[in-house]
C-alpha cells in the first residue's frame, strides 16, 4: 500500500515510544553521567527514522519501525549526543576511545604527519562546534544518526576534512586531482583519466561508420538497461578499481543491499543464506553482469540496428581489438 510520505509518521512514532524508552534506559544505565535527557534522545531517534525509513511513500509498519530503532547504534548515538550537548564526561570518554584511532586514520590518509595532526585538530573543533545558531552551539556530532557506527562515521569525517584541507592549500587544483591525492586514490589516480585508447582511438579502430555508431549505441543501451545494483558493481570494479577483496568487504554485512540483491538472484542463497562472501562470489556476480550486458548488446545490435550475426561479429572485433589486457581474473592474483 502506498501512502503519502509523512502522514503516518506521528502515530507510528508514538506507537514506538516504548521501544525508544527501552533503548534510552539501557544507554542511560551504561552512562548515567553523560546527562542525556530522554526527550533529546527520542528526538534524535525520530530524526533518524524520518531520514532513513519514514521518508518514502511506502507504508511502514510499527514492527518495521521498532526493528529499525533496535538496529541503531544506540551507545554510539548516546555518546555523540552527550558530546554535542557539551558533557565533559562524554568528551573525556570520546577522547579516550577514539582519539588514537582518529590519529591513525589521519596518518594513514595524509601525506605528512603535520597534515594528519592538523586534520585531527580541525575535526575536534568541528565536532565541538564553533558556530552558534539561535544561541545554541552547533556540533558536528548532531549530524550523526546512529545508522552506521561512530568509528565509521569518524573515518568519513576525517576523509572529507583531508579533502577540504587539500582543497584549501591547492586553490587551483580540480576536485578530480584533489581526491586522487588523498589516501588510496593516489594509487589509483587513473580512475578519472581518459583511458588509453579513448573514444577517438576507439572510433579510429572502427573502420565503418555504421558499425561504430551501432557499437557505441548498443553498449550504452546495454548498460542503461541493467539494474542499478549491477551498474554500481560494474562501476566499482571498472571505474573505481576496487579489487574483488574490497568489494567482498563492502558486502560482508548480511544486510548489505548489494549482497541482498545479488543473492536473491542466486539459487544457492536458500541453501546457505548466511555464507561468507568470497572474492569468487563477487567474480560470479561480475560474470553474470557481463553475460547480461553481452545479451543486451547483441539484442540491441540485432533489433535496433538490424545487423546480421557476421556484422555483429565485426562490431565486436573492431571495438575490442586492443582490449585483451584486462580481464575479470587479474585481481585474484593480488588477494
Amino acid at each position: 500500500m502506498i501512502t503519502e510520505a509523512g502522514t503516518q509518521q506521528p502515530d507510528l512514532l508514538n506507537e514506538c515510544e516504548p521501544v525508544m524508552e527501552e533503548i534510552f534506559t539501557r544507554c542511560n544505565e551504561n552512562a548515567p553521567n553523560f546527562g542525556v535527557r530522554l526527550e533529546c534522545f527520542k528526538e534524535s531517534l525520530q530524526k533518524t527514522a524520518r531520514k532513513y525509513i519514514l521518508n518514502s511513500t511506502e507504508e511502514v509498519s510499527a514492527a518495521e519501525l521498532s526493528d529499525f530503532l533496535r538496529q541503531i547504534q544506540a551507545e554510539d548515538l548516546f555518546l555523540a549526543l552527550a558530546c554535542a550537548n557539551g558533557s565533559e564526561r562524554a568528551w573525556w570518554e570520546f577522547d579516550q576511545q577514539h582519539r588514537s584511532y582518529l590519529e591513525r586514520v589521519a596518518r594513514h590518509l595524509a601525506s605528512t604527519d603535520i597534515d594528519a595532526q592538523e586534520v585531527v585538530d580541525t575535526v575536534y573543533v568541528e565536532l565541538y562546534g564553533t558556530r552558534v545558531v539561535d544561541g545554541a552551539r552547533v556540533s558536528k556530532f548532531s549530524t550523526y544518526s546512529g545508522r552506521g557506527s561512530l568509528r565509521g562515521w569518524l573515518r568519513t569525517v576525517i576523509w572529507h576534512s583531508l579533502v577540504d584541507l587539500h582543497r584549501a592549500s591547492h586553490d587551483e587544483v580540480s576536485l578530480d586531482e584533489m581526491t586522487e591525492n588523498v589516501g588510496e586514490g593516489f594509487a589509483h589516480a587513473s580512475f578519472a583519466e581518459a583511458p588509453q585508447g579513448g573514444e577517438a582511438e576507439m572510433i579510429e579502430q572502427i573502420s565503418k561508420q555504421r558499425y561504430k555508431k551501432a557499437t557505441v549505441s548498443a553498449i550504452e543501451t546495454a548498460f542503461a538497461n541493467l539494474d542499478t545494483h549491477e551498474k554500481l558493481l560494474l562501476l566499482y570494479y571498472h571505474v573505481e578499481n576496487l579489487k574483488l577483496r574490497e568489494i567482498a568487504r563492502m558486502v560482508e554485512s548480511q544486510s548489505s543491499p548489494l549482497r541482498d540483491w545479488f543473492q536473491r538472484k542466486s539459487p544457492t542463497r536458500e541453501k546457505n543464506p548466511e555464507s561468507r562472501i568470497h572474492e569468487s562470489t563477487i567474480m560470479r556476480w561480475l560474470e553474470k553482469s557481463y553475460t547480461k550486458v553481452l545479451q543486451l548488446f547483441r539484442t540491441e545490435l540485432r533489433a535496433k540496428h538490424e545487423l546480421r550475426e557476421d556484422e555483429i561479429e565485426i562490431c565486436m572485433e573492431l571495438a575490442t581489438q586492443d582490449l585483451a589486457g584486462r580481464n575479470l581474473y587479474q585481481n585474484l592474483t593480488t588477494t
Binding site: 532513513y52 565533559e88 568528551w91 553498449i219 548498460f223 573505481e240 576496487l242 553481452l294 582490449l323
Partner: protein, 140 residues
Amino acid sequence: MENTGKINLEEIRIQGLLDRYLNRQSAASGLSTQENHLDDDSLTAFVEGNLSERESKPIVSHLVDCSFCRHVTAELVRLDLAFADEQVQTVVEENQPSRISEVLSGLLAKIFGTGDSAVFAHHEAEEKSENRTEEKKEEK
C-alpha cells in the same frame, strides 16, 4: 589465472568494451556530476552495509549517477579494510574529566587564536558567577 582459458571469448571482449565505455563516460563527466551529495552519515551507513533495501534504493541510484560520492565510498571501503584488524581500544584511565576542556581550548587557540575566550566563555561565565557567589558569602 588458470581459469582464463575457460572464459568465453565474447565475454572478454564485452568486458573490454564495457571497461572503456565506463571509463570514458566517467572521464567525460568528471567527479562533480551532482549538486546534492550524500552526507557523511549516509555514506558511512551504506559502506557498512547497514541500510535495508528500502533505505538504500535512492542511495544506490545516486551512486550510479554521482561519481564523486561513488569515489568517496570506494575510498572508505579501502580505508575500512586497511583498519579491519584494528582492535577497539577502550583504555579507560581515571584522569580528570576536565582535561578535555584544556585539550579543546588548546586546539581552538592554535587554529583560531581565540580558543579559551570564545568557546569556553560559558564555562568562564559560570566560574565567574560561582566565584562571585563565594566572594559574597565570604563578605557576609
